[in-house]
């Protein structure tokens, strides 16, 4: 592996160390320069790596151009060896670009967004962001599951630190803890999968597990391992039933939400399954479960998003929903489609969050969309970019979301038409809630206070540059994956990723039938038309919204309360655990543990108090005891042979 590739993860780590250690000495400008600069350099290096990979693929299309860096063994025992190894291949390089590219834009944006913080906190923020990027880079660059797990835990830690960044607010800390605990539940699955692989194969290297050695696995092993890995992905990528942490993660500063939702963290689960595509393709049961879970999450989260009034909560549920689509894609074997959607989603979701941040910034930390309105007049750049992102996520051609979502839906149709219809229903809901959000925020009349209206302003340039860049990417990002129906062989991404997915895809395409081009075109047209209708309906309905109309009842009320899932978890898991904890605290701890420890102490002190009575101070009593003792000894040894002989001799 070229040594410059090592600097891709090392530079953000360096930035973390510099900012973290020097947080009390560095000025804000220096901090921002270090933080954003390191990620930018990393991005440039990723660009080089990408260019190199592109040239190699061009010269020798379809071949595997994996580069591995293997300096030492992490663990070496007779049963197995775990190497410390990094790899860069087609899939990794794509993720490197997404992570560092979008990461850099978010860093740039944060420099302006967080400028109200004091320098030490500002530096702390950038240090955490850099550590986050570093962890994610380690995650995608690892050459075995253990290194991936390191990165996996790293992003979990960083999400905890960043969600609870404003640690003086108890609710934010609770949200951070929730994210951490939920992720831990998933991580347990991942860890068990690693143990399983070590037990059966004695290796966790991708090359071994997906290669020759992997053929030693029985179908049961593969199903179990893939299911356990999927449990890990559920936690990290917020799928039912472990999704509730993601909406709560909105407690963090908005750039953090963008980073978690777009470039890092939640895509980790997708990456992991895409990486393990060989195993997943061999486990049809797991694939079905993945697809169904993904679809259920997509629909479930979309219904919740219909009735949320917090700008970030809507986006959070839309992320959960879009992640559901990605898992649907993975479940039906459309690995390229899932990765494609990760990429386009990263563009438009980062844009949406940064746009939301811009709005929140202008509204002085007001997040309720019912109190906004008509912001297009005051914030033209934010408005235009936000609109483009909404169109992209809704799936209007030729925006990026259309291509990736279409690819997943077509693959879903081939697997099971029901998946397709439900997926389309979800897409319609997506269009509806996104344009509800858009209309309530940017159209109609302003519903905030006079003071807020007075201060409305477009965000500063460092915040709008990332918006514009991301908007351009959201618009054109889809053209790297044009489906065959428009132009034969134009799906660049599929060719690029083919070396990674070839084996996994081979299992899927066996016996799979293809749609005719006319059928596919009709489906696309109908769906696009439906989405447009929904958008028009949504915009018309919510553009004329006036305050006080919202009084949810019936189903709307249930949706507003997020199906009461949090309450359900509260009563099912949290309360019993609290009660168990209370039992341990109030009974086991004081009665059993303290009782045993204190009991021994009490016994000793009671005993010594009794024995102390013997020491009365009366000389006479001491003497009496002495003499009695002598008599006792005499009686004890009365039968002694020598005494007996003495008595016999003289008496």
């Amino acid at each position: 592996m070229n040594s410059y590739l090592l600097w891709i993860p090392l530079l953000p780590l360096l930035g973390f160390l510099l900012n973290g250690l020097g947080r009390n000495h560095l000025s804000k400008n220096a901090t921002a320069t270090i933080g954003a600069g390191m990620v930018f350099l990393s991005f440039v290096l990723s660009g080089f790596a990408f260019g190199q990979m592109l040239a190699l693929s061009h010269a020798d299309p379809g071949a595997n151009h994996t580069q591995v860096f293997y300096p030492f063994d992490l663990l070496r025992i007779p049963a197995f060896t775990i190497p410390f190894a990094l790899r860069v291949d087609h899939l990794t390089v794509l993720f490197l670009l997404i992570i560092t590219g979008i990461g850099f834009l978010i860093h740039l944006y944060s420099a302006a967004y967080m400028k109200e913080e004091t320098p030490p906190h500002f530096a702390r923020f950038f240090a955490y962001l850099n550590l986050f990027v570093f962890s994610m880079l380690v995650l995608v660059m690892g050459d075995n599951f253990v290194i991936m797990f390191f990165g996996w835990e790293g992003v979990g830690l960083c999400s905890y630190l960043l969600i609870g960044f404003w640690f003086k607010n108890t609710a934010y800390n609770a949200a951070a803890k929730k994210a951490f605990v939920m992720n831990r539940i998933g991580d347990l699955g991942f860890l068990l999968a690693i143990f399983w692989l070590l037990m059966k194969l004695g290796s966790v290297n991708y090359g071994d597990v997906f290669g020759q050695l992997g053929t030693q696995l029985t179908p049961t092993d593969i199903t179990a391992v893939t299911l356990l890995l999927f449990v890990g992905a559920m936690g990290k990528s917020a799928q039912i039933p472990l999704y509730t942490w993601l909406p709560d993660a909105m407690a963090g500063p908005t750039p953090v939400s963008a980073l978690i939702h777009a470039a890092t963290m939640v895509t980790a689960g997708i990456y992991m399954i895409a990486r393990s595509n060989v195993l997943y393709s061999l486990a049809p049961l797991t694939q079905t479960i993945v697809a169904i879970t993904g679809l259920a999450t997509a629909l479930f989260a979309a219904t919740i998003a219909l009735r949320q009034n917090d700008i970030k909560k809507v986006l959070a549920y839309s992320t959960v929903s879009q992640l559901g689509y990605m898992f649907l894609g993975l479940g039906v074997g459309a690995y390229t489609g899932a990765v494609f959607h990760v990429m386009t989603h990263a563009f438009f979701k980062a844009l949406l969050f940064l746009g939301a941040g811009s709005v929140i910034h202008a509204m002085h930390h007001e997040q309720d969309i019912l109190k906004m309105g008509n912001l297009r007049k005051y914030m033209p750049i934010t408005h235009i970019t936000f609109l483009l992102a909404c169109l992209a996520i809704a799936g209007i051609p030729p925006f990026s979301g259309f291509f990736s979502k279409d690819e997943i839906l077509v693959a879903a149709y081939l697997a099971n038409p029901l998946y397709y219809y439900l997926g389309v229903a979800g897409a319609l809901m997506t269009a509806f809630y996104m344009f509800r959000l858009y209309s309530l925020t940017f159209r109609g009349d302003f519903r905030g206070t006079k003071e807020q209206a007075h201060h409305l302003h477009e965000s500063p340039v460092p915040m709008t540059i990332p918006l514009v860049v991301l908007a351009i990417l959201s618009v054109v990002g889809g053209f790297i994956g044009i489906p065959a129906v428009f132009a034969a062989d134009a799906h660049w991404l599929e060719h690029f990723l083919a070396p990674v997915f070839r084996r996994g895809a081979a299992h899927v395409s066996e016996g799979a039938h293809h749609l005719s081009h006319s059928q596919e075109l009709i489906m696309m047209g109908v769906v696009t038309l439906l989405i447009l209708l929904v958008i028009v309906f949504s915009v018309r309905k919510y553009s004329t919204y006036t305050a006080g109309e919202e009084n949810p009842s019936g189903l709307a009320r249930v949706l507003y309360n997020k199906w009461y899932v949090d309450e359900l978890y509260q009563s099912l898991f949290v309360q019993p655990l609290h009660q168990l904890g209370g039992f341990f605290k109030n009974f086991t701890e004081p009665k059993i543990i303290d009782g045993a420890v204190n009991g021994i102490g009490k016994l000793v002190s009671y005993g010594s108090r009794q024995i102390r009575l013997v020491q009365s101070g009366q000389v006479g009593s001491y003497l009496l005891i002495m003499i009695l003792a002598i008599v006792v000894f005499f009686l004890v040894w009365f039968n002694d042979l020598h005494l007996q002989r003495f008595f016999q001799k003289y008496f």
Binding site: R612, S616, Q618, G620, L623, L624
Partner: protein, 111 residues
């Protein structure tokens, strides 16, 4: 004279000492009783020593076997003399401090 007489006598003497130590409160009398016990033991030592020596002489004239007991008596007397000097000094000091030589009064070390 048979050895039993010595044994009975010493037993009586020793018991008198014990009874005196246990019952009397005057420190000097307690002290004297201790001396009584010591001397009862001394007497018994001498008696047994003489007996063994006499038996040894019968077997081999000129022998010194069996006289160690009498030697020990002198050791005991020396130690007892030293003990008496220390003990009496303590009693004198006690009297100076408390104007009493009642041993039951000496319970200050209690607790």
């Amino acid at each position: 004279m048979p050895i039993q007489y010595y044994i009975y006598f010493c037993l009586a003497l020793f018991s008198l000492g014990i009874i005196g130590v246990l019952t009397r409160r005057n420190a000097i009398i307690v002290f004297m009783c201790i001396e009584l016990m010591l001397n009862a033991v001394n007497l018994l030592l001498v008696a047994f020593s003489k007996m063994h020596h006499a038996a040894a002489l019968q077997a081999a004239p000129q022998t010194t076997a069996g006289i160690e007991g009498q030697l020990f008596v002198f050791f005991i007397m020396v130690v007892a003399a030293a003990e008496v000097s220390v003990g009496l000094a303590i009693i004198v000091m006690m009297y100076r401090n408390t104007h009493s030589i009642d041993i039951n009064f000496l319970n200050r070390l209690k607790n």
